[in-house]
C-alpha cells in the first residue's frame, strides 16, 4: 500500500475541493435567490486571478518585489476580492436586473454573452499566452518547501495556505449568512422571493449582497488557483463547470451543500485521475469522460442534490 501516494491524493483532493467549494458557493448563493445559472461566474474567477497578476506586476513582480512577497500576496487576494465583488454587482445591475421579468432563458443567454465578453476582453488586454505568478521563485522557493511533515510525507506551504485560506473564507461566509441581518434576509429571499419582498426586505440590496459575496469568494479562489497553476483567459471555464456541478450535487441553493459538493467533486477528480483510470485500464485522458458520466447518472437519480430540497412546483 503506497501511503505516500494515498496521502498525496488526499491533499490533492482537499486543494481541488477547496477551490471548487469557493466557486460553488458563488453559484449556489446566486441561484438560491434569483434561480439563475450564472454562467459568467467562472469568468469572474478568471478576472480575479488576472487582477492578482496586475497587483503582482505593480509591486515589481515575483523575483524582485518592492515589499515583502507575502504582503503582496495578501494585497493580491484583497484586490481580487474587491474587484470581483464590484464586477459581480456591475454584471447583475446591467445584464441580469433588466431581465428579471423576461422569460427564463433570457438571463441565461445574457450570462453566456457576459462570459464570452469577459474572457475575450481579458485576451484582448493581456494576450492569450499563459502567464504565471512564478510562485516557484517566491522568496527563494519557500512556497514549495514542506510545512508539515508526517513521516516521509510532506505537505508544502502552498497547499497549507490554500486550504487554510479557503476554510477561513468559508467560515467567514457562514458567519455572514447565519449571524447577520442581511444574511438572514438573504436566506429568507432564497426561500421565497415574493414573500420576502412583502415582508419589507429590500430585494435589490439582498441581491447586491449576494453578488458581492459570490464575487469576493471567486476572486480569492482565482488568486489561490493561479498561485499553483497558471493564468490563461479561458481558465475559468472548466473550474466553473466543475464548481457548478459541485453546487448542484450538493444541492443548489444550499450553502453547506455547495461546500460538501465541492469537496466531494475534488475527491472524485483526484481519485479518478490517480487511481480509477489505472484500475479500469483506460487512458488517463479519458478521466473527464468518467467524471462527467458519473455526474449525469447522479443528476438523473437525485436531481435535487444531496442536501437540496426537491423542487415542487406549485400551480
Amino acid at each position: 500500500m503506497d501511503y505516500d501516494k494515498l496521502f498525496q491524493t488526499i491533499v490533492n483532493a482537499a486543494t481541488l475541493g477547496s477551490t471548487y467549494a469557493l466557486i460553488a458557493l458563488g453559484y449556489t448563493i446566486v441561484y438560491g435567490i434569483l434561480k439563475l445559472l450564472n454562467f459568467a461566474h467562472g469568468d469572474v474567477f478568471m478576472v480575479g486571478a488576472y487582477v492578482g497578476f496586475g497587483i503582482l506586476t505593480l509591486f515589481g513582480g515575483a523575483l524582485d518585489p518592492s515589499i515583502s512577497i507575502w504582503l503582496v500576496l495578501i494585497l493580491m487576494t484583497i484586490a481580487a476580492m474587491v474587484a470581483c465583488a464590484v464586477l459581480g454587482v456591475v454584471i447583475e445591475r446591467f445584464a441580469y436586473r433588466p431581465l428579471r421579468s423576461a422569460p427564463r432563458i433570457a438571463p441565461l443567454i445574457s450570462a453566456l454573452g457576459v462570459s464570452f465578453f469577459l474572457s475575450y476582453s481579458v485576451q484582448l488586454l493581456f494576450g492569450a499566452q499563459q502567464r504565471t505568478y512564478d510562485s516557484f521563485n517566491w522568496d527563494g522557493g519557500k512556497l514549495f518547501e514542506p510545512a508539515i511533515t508526517i513521516g516521509s510525507f510532506t505537505i508544502s506551504w502552498l497547499r497549507v495556505i490554500t486550504i487554510v485560506a479557503s476554510i477561513v473564507l468559508m467560515l467567514a461566509l457562514w458567519y455572514l449568512v447565519s449571524r447577520t441581518r442581511t444574511g438572514k434576509a438573504m436566506r429568507a429571499t432564497s426561500i421565497d422571493l415574493d414573500a420576502a419582498a412583502m415582508m419589507g426586505i429590500d430585494i435589490d440590496k439582498v441581491i447586491r449582497f449576494a453578488f458581492v459575496l459570490a464575487g469576493a469568494l471567486a476572486g480569492a479562489a482565482g488568486v489561490l488557483f493561479a498561485l499553483r497553476t497558471y493564468l490563461v483567459p479561458s481558465m475559468g471555464f472548466t473550474p466553473g463547470l466543475f464548481a457548478f456541478t459541485a453546487a448542484v450535487i450538493g444541492g443548489i441553493g444550499s450553502i453547506p451543500g455547495a461546500m460538501l459538493g465541492g469537496i466531494l467533486l475534488g475527491t472524485v477528480e483526484a481519485l479518478t485521475v490517480t487511481y480509477v483510470t489505472e484500475w479500469i485500464g483506460i487512458p488517463v485522458g479519458l478521466s473527464n469522460l468518467v467524471i462527467f458520466s458519473l455526474l449525469i447518472v447522479f443528476l438523473l437519480i437525485r436531481p435535487q442534490g444531496i442536501l437540496g430540497r426537491p423542487d415542487i412546483k406549485k400551480v
Binding site: 505516500d4 486543494t15 481541488l16 514549495f144 508544502s156 497558471y230 472548466t238 488517463v284
Partner: protein, 393 residues
C-alpha cells in the same frame, strides 16, 4: 394546397441546384488554370501561414518579424524586392484551411512559409499543392508529414528544420545513455504535436527496455497535481512535450514539491522563459543564434527593427525558410522576366543555400523535402533561469 406548393417549390429548387452543379462540373476552367506570372523586377510576395493570434501567438509574431528581416536582407543580397504577408492560421486546422484558401486566391503570392503547426500542414497541404504553392515550414516537426507509409503532406511541402523523429529519439537516447534512465513517464497534451513527439519518445524507450508510463492530459487541464501523484517516486525521467511551457514547468515544480527526483525533458514547444526549473532539459531545432559565429550583424539588425523585443529561438528558422524560397525564386528568374508558382517549386532543390542563417550552407535531402543533415540541440536550464546549450542531439 399551400403545403403542396411549398413541397413542389422545395424539390424544384433542389433539382435545379443539382442540375446546375452537375452541368457545370468543371468549375473555373479556362483562364483560371493559367497561373498568374509575377514580374521578377516587381515585388515578390511571400506568404506566411502561421499562428498570429491565440495562445501560441508569440511563435507566429516571432516568425513574422524574422521573415520580414529576411525579405529585406536576403532580397537585397539577391537583387529582389520581397515582402512577407501574414495569414493567421491559429491553432485550429480548419481555420488554417480558410487562411490557405485566402492565400491561394491572392494571385500575387508566389510561395509561402509555414504552416507553422503540424495540424495546419495536414489540413492545408493538398489545397496549397493544388494551387502549385510551395510551402516551407520553419516549425512543423511532425514526422508523419514526410515520413512513414503514407505521408500526410504533399510534394509541395518543404521543411527546413529536422522533424520529431530526430527530436524524440535524440531526447530518449540522451536520457538512457547519459542519465542512465530505466524508468520514464511520457506526457502528451492530446494535440498533434505533443502526441506525435510523445509516441516517438515512447517507442524508442520501449525498444531500449525502459519502463514507460504514458499519461495524457487535456488542453484544459490546469492542475496537474493528481497526474504527478501517479508518477512513481523511482521514475528517472519525465518527458513533457507540450506546446505550453507553463504546463511543463508546473509538472517540474510539482515533482519537486512531491519529493520526486525525476528530471524533466521539454520539447521545442517549451523553449520559453516560463520553463525555468533548474536542471530541466529542453531541446530545439535551432541552436542559439548567438552561438554561431558571424551572426551578430543579423541579430543587431533584428533588434533595430523590433525595439523592445527579445530574440527567441523560433524566429531564425523562419528567416531560413524565406532564404530557401528567395534562392529558388532567384534561380527561377535567371534569364527570365517573370516567374510563376510552379517555377519556384522546380528550383527549390536545384542547389545549396549558402550563408545559411543557422550556419554553413543548407541542402535538402534528395529523398524527402526535409533537411539533409537536420538536427536538434539540447539545452539545460541553469540556476538563474537561462538556457545553456549542451550539444547536438
Amino acid at each position: 394546397m399551400k403545403r403542396r406548393a411549398l413541397i413542389a417549390a422545395a424539390l424544384g429548387t433542389l433539382v435545379a441546384a443539382s442540375l446546375a452543379a452537375s452541368a457545370s462540373a468543371d468549375p473555373q476552367a479556362g483562364a483560371r488554370s493559367e497561373a498568374a506570372a509575377v514580374s521578377c523586377r516587381g515585388t515578390i510576395n511571400i506568404g506566411n501561414l502561421t499562428v498570429l493570434t491565440g495562445p501560441a501567438a508569440f511563435l507566429g509574431q516571432s516568425q513574422q518579424s524574422w521573415a520580414e528581416l529576411a525579405a529585406k536582407r536576403v532580397g537585397a543580397q539577391l537583387g529582389l524586392r520581397a515582402r512577407v504577408i501574414g495569414f493567421d492560421t491559429t491553432l485550429d486546422p480548419a481555420v488554417a484551411l480558410t487562411a490557405a484558401q485566402r492565400l491561394v486566391g491572392n494571385r500575387s503570392v508566389i510561395a509561402t512559409i509555414g504552416p507553422a503547426t503540424s495540424g495546419g500542414v495536414a489540413a492545408t497541404s493538398r489545397t496549397l499543392a493544388d494551387a502549385r504553392v510551395v510551402h516551407v515550414t520553419p516549425s512543423a516537426t511532425a514526422a508523419a508529414l514526410t515520413k512513414g507509409g503514407s505521408p500526410t503532406a504533399t510534394g509541395f511541402f518543404y521543411r527546413i528544420v529536422a522533424d520529431d523523429s530526430v527530436q524524440g529519439t535524440g531526447q530518449a537516447k540522451y536520457a538512457i545513455d547519459r542519465l542512465n534512465a530505466d524508468k520514464a513517464t511520457v506526457f502528451d497534451a492530446q494535440e498533434p504535436y505533443s502526441v506525435g513527439l510523445a509516441n516517438t519518445v515512447e517507442r524508442y524507450l520501449e525498444r531500449r527496455n525502459v519502463t514507460v508510463q504514458r499519461l495524457s492530459v487535456t488542453n484544459s487541464t490546469s492542475d496537474f497535481s493528481s497526474f504527478v501523484t501517479r508518477i512513481p517516486s523511482d521514475t528517472d525521467v519525465v518527458f513533457t512535450p507540450f506546446q505550453v511551457a507553463a504546463n511543463a514547468n508546473q509538472i517540474a515544480v510539482l515533482l519537486k514539491e512531491q519529493g520526486k527526483r525525476a528530471v524533466v525533458f521539454g520539447g521545442d514547444g517549451t523553449v520559453d522563459p516560463a520553463f525555468k526549473v533548474p536542471g530541466s532539459y529542453v531541446s530545439n531545432f535551432a541552436p542559439d543564434l548567438a552561438s554561431i559565429p558571424g551572426r551578430a550583424a543579423i541579430l543587431n539588425a533584428w533588434r533595430r527593427d523590433n525595439p523592445g523585443r527579445t530574440p527567441d529561438v523560433f524566429g531564425p528558422p523562419a528567416y531560413g525558410a524565406v532564404q530557401s524560397i528567395l534562392y529558388a525564386v532567384k534561380r527561377a528568374c535567371a534569364g527570365k522576366s517573370s516567374v510563376e508558382r510552379i517555377n519556384v517549386k522546380r528550383k527549390m532543390k536545384s542547389g545549396p543555400i549558402p550563408n545559411w542563417i543557422l550556419g554553413g550552407s543548407f541542402r535538402y535531402s534528395s529523398k524527402t523535402n526535409d533537411p539533409l543533415n537536420g538536427g536538434f540541440w539540447l539545452y539545460q536550464v541553469q540556476a538563474n533561469g537561462s538556457l545553456k546549450q549542451i550539444g547536438r542531439l
